[in-house]
Symmetry: C2
Subunit: 175 residues, 2 copies
């Protein structure tokens, strides 16, 4: 235990994500194309930090993938391919650091709640950070997407998660 401590980091949580997804299978694999509405519910002590977030059309949500397998799989077959890749060449939820990143559409801010469109995470996911999406900083129009090239046109319509990466098969009333 002592030896691994320096290879970990402890971060504050700022709230909880409320989404329509109560089980880890059949969730949209990416927020793009998802119209599912979610709520980022901040712990009240952080509400003030939401000032001016509603001026942005999109934010990036960083959250804890709290129901993922504990064993690290470095070579995996992602939802969007049938070939194996290194985990850092995928967005698989089964990663060494169980952290998810979703860019979502801001609907409104009300007190300590940020309502958003594009919920692709499990209900009850612990929220780590909210970062505004900066159009001229975060877009990479010339990006080349490796193994995903030609496979991602149908992300929104076809690809849904399954339970390959989870610890338990069905999760209800989590928190």
């Amino acid at each position: 235990m002592k030896k691994t401590c320096s290879k970990e980091v402890t971060l504050k949580l700022i709230g909880i994500l409320r989404t329509p997804h109560h089980a880890v299978d059949n969730i949209p694999v990416q927020p793009v194309g998802s119209q599912d509405v979610g709520v980022a519910e901040l712990f009240p002590e952080f509400s003030e930090g939401l000032k001016d977030v509603d001026g942005f059309s999109h934010v990036m949500l960083l959250f804890h993938l709290h129901e993922m397998k504990k064993e690290v799989q470095l070579i995996i077959t992602p939802f969007m391919d049938n070939k194996e890749h290194g985990v850092f060449a995928t967005r698989s939820p089964a990663r060494p650091a169980s952290i998810g990143l979703s860019t979502v559409k801001v609907k409104k801010v009300d007190g300590n709640k940020l309502y958003f469109e594009g919920a692709d995470m499990l209900n009850g996911s612990p929220l780590i950070d909210i970062k505004p999406f900066f159009r001229n900083v975060d877009n990479r129009l010339d990006a080349v997407s490796g193994w995903l090239e030609g496979k991602d046109a149908d992300i929104a319509s076809i690809h849904r998660s399954d339970d390959r990466f989870i610890e338990r098969k069905a999760i209800h009333n989590m928190e």
Copy 2:
């Protein structure tokens, strides 16, 4: 201590970022426009996870902002404006969860090392995750950038960090 435990998350670290920036002031405030080269040096046990990363032109690096102020400031004046905003409407490094996100350009992968262009983080920053940039998922061409609109054309040429958010003024030979 017991009460705050549920409001924290502990994540595995996967490596260390080596960059030319040995002090927290005068760093590019965003990776876009920075030609500074950095190296994501993975702990050897995670090397295998880099397979196929070199097929992607860009990756997102998530890292620990390990030299930031410990006090949470919810209303701050970011580097790119002279007005106050809620911290979640900014990319300020002084956030409740000290986590940084930079989209950088992949140069090459060699063993446990990923060489990249666009280093805007401090040398020695602990690396939390590497996520491939998916062109059709991560771009938001229609994004509106709130208070930043009209202020970000000159990010690359003008804006550099200063020491407003740090705990110590100069940091040398960190790790």
